[in-house]
């Protein structure tokens, strides 16, 4: 779009959503692990998957203001769908991914009708309850899910017929990174569209929305379904790149973890989930030898500190620093 044909307000809005040099640098930097840390590509793949999952939560939490304590339901549902398809003989990754995405989306669509009707504590409890329900169901349906032992016998074919998923993680990281980037582009488009503006309106003041003629429940259902698809894709990636699926993909623990990750990075800032995922996963990898109790002690302390001192997460804190620095000029 040529700038000269835009009016002043349009130019202003356009400047807000333009690609920043820092963003381009960031995405180029995601290629560095291939060169700098070729032995850790499996971890890099995990980070990309977690980042995609956190991004999906950001859509509903950071932008629409829906607090969900059960978002892992869609992650796990996508994971098991992809795993089962492969286990039953169809190991082609890309089509498996699409089917898992559709399945998670269908689940998201159905539950969105419930979600859109409630607010405050009832909504939090319902998201928690639905997540726990699905986790319990998966636990009980051991004949399907493998129960506590996890899904066995997931064998993936070569990606695009060329690249095999292996312990080195090269194919895995390439695959996850590309999918993350595509998911990011989609989220970015969505946020910068009129629909994204409507979501922010719901978050900023849900009471005002009907008064300007906005069908909030319809908007919420739409974004919730999209977020479910994205979470399902992340789950499917995990199943395919690790060739295993376990019950913890659906657990409350995972829902809580992704919430912590998003808040750490900063919700409602598009990159918050990615930043949070990088920090969290790298830290967890570094401290993996430590007693899990210590890990949760520090996560808990970090969470308290973030809420008290850094309410908009790391990205929010950085934005504030930048604003402070700009002031004298």
């Amino acid at each position: 779009m040529a700038s000269s044909t835009l009016s002043e307000p349009q130019r202003h809005l356009e400047a807000q959503i333009r690609w920043r040099p820092l963003e381009i640098a960031f995405w180029l930097a995601t290629l560095l692990p291939f060169v700098l840390t070729p032995n850790h590509l499996a971890l890099a793949s995990q980070i990309a998957i977690t980042a995609l999952f956190a991004l999906s939560l950001d859509l509903i939490l950071g932008y629409a203001g829906i607090i969900s304590l059960g978002h892992a339901a869609y992650f796990g549902f996508g994971s098991y769908t992809a795993g089962l398809i492969a286990k039953w003989g169809w190991g082609e990754p890309l089509t498996g991914l699409l089917i898992a995405a559709a399945a998670a989306g269908a689940l998201g669509y159905v539950t969105s009708f419930i979600i859109a009707r409630f607010r405050h504590l009832a909504l939090i409890m319902i998201t928690l309850g639905l997540g726990l329900l699905l986790a319990e169901a998966a636990n009980s349906a051991g004949w399907l899910t493998g129960g506590a032992d996890g899904l066995q016998g997931v064998r993936m074919w070569k990606l695009l017929g060329l690249f095999q998923f292996d312990l080195y993680g090269t194919a895995a990281y390439t695959y996850s990174l590309v999918v993350l980037f595509l998911g990011f582009l989609l989220a970015r488009r969505l946020i910068n569209s009129p629909f994204g503006l409507a979501l922010r309106g719901i978050r900023e003041n849900a009471v005002r929305m009907p008064a300007i003629g906005a069908p909030s429940p319809a908007h919420i259902r739409k974004v919730y379904t999209i977020a479910a698809v994205m979470a399902g894709i992340a789950g499917a990636l995990l199943a395919q790149t690790t060739e295993t699926v376990s019950l913890d993909t659906l657990s409350f623990q995972r829902s809580a973890d992704v919430l912590v990750i998003l808040i750490l990075g900063g919700a409602g800032r598009l990159y918050g989930g990615i930043v949070g995922a990088i920090i969290y996963m790298v830290a967890r990898d570094q401290f993996s030898g430590i007693n899990p109790q210590y890990w949760y002690f520090w996560i808990g302390t970090l969470l308290i500190a973030v809420v008290l001192f850094l309410p908009n997460g790391i990205l929010g804190g950085m934005a504030r620093l930048v604003r402070l620095e700009r002031r004298p000029a």
């Binding site: 503006l197 008064a211 003629g213």
Partner: protein
């Protein structure tokens, strides 16, 4: 609480709704716009029965209100807020594929509204950074963006100092005659200047209706206000 309210607003009129605190004025607006459900009765807009419609559907029919306490979007800029209202009206708000600046007509319309309310200079700043009086104007801007046929203003100048409220009311009086306006107000000077007809409410009922002069002269009205002062 509102009881036995029968109200008819002819098109294009300027009505003031007055009454002591607790008379049920805001409740009436909440009922008309659908934020609370009536136990009995019907509401018509033109010839259409809108009693069963949800609030957002009534807005689409042209029935719009503003809020007594600023009910705005703190972190959205004024431009974004009004553009949002315009997009909702035009049906763009469901579109997630094209970016917002591409909808030039919506952005232009929003900007024009802000210009007409003299908010254009600060329209890029977040709403929470605007002065109180500007926020009250933004309340009205949001309502105007929906192209109302009937506009219900709940104490539009509430909290605005005397000097600035004149500007606010000149904006209201400049509104097109196609729009029917009802505003809740306590300041009798304003009522006299801008209202063609006045409705008086007390204790949840409509006491009477008439021209400002008739209302001012009516003993019952004085009783209702003075009686209220004694009770309080």
């Amino acid at each position: 609480m509102a009881r036995g309210v029968e109200l008819a607003l002819p098109q294009g009129e300027r009505y003031a709704l007055i009454g002591p605190n607790g008379a049920g004025k805001t409740t009436l607006i909440n009922l008309i716009t659908g934020m609370i459900k009536p136990d009995q009765g019907q509401i018509f807009l033109g010839d259409t029965d809108i009693t069963a419609l949800r609030p957002e559907a009534r807005v689409k029919c042209g029935l719009v209100r503003t809020f007594q306490i600023n009910t705005l979007f703190p972190r959205l800029s004024a431009l974004e807020a009004v553009t949002l209202a315009v997009c909702e009206r035009r049906g763009y708000a469901g579109n997630w594929w094209r970016e917002l600046p591409a909808y030039g007509d919506a952005v232009e319309e929003a900007y024009a509204i802000l210009v007409s309310l003299r908010l254009a200079a600060s329209c890029y700043r977040p709403t929470r950074e605007l002065a109180y009086g500007q926020q009250r104007l933004l309340e009205i801007a949001l309502a105007l963006a929906t192209r109302p046929r009937v506009l219900l203003l709940d104490e539009p100048a509430a909290g605005v100092p005397q000097g600035e409220s004149a500007e606010l009311f000149s904006v209201i009086s400049d509104l097109s005659r196609d729009i029917t306006v009802l505003f809740i107000e306590h300041d009798m000077n304003v009522v006299f200047r801008f209202a063609r007809r006045v409705i008086v409410m007390a204790a949840g009922r409509i006491l009477l209706e008439g021209t400002p002069e008739e209302i001012a002269a009516d003993a019952r009205v004085r009783e209702v206000y003075l009686g209220g002062a004694h009770r309080g």
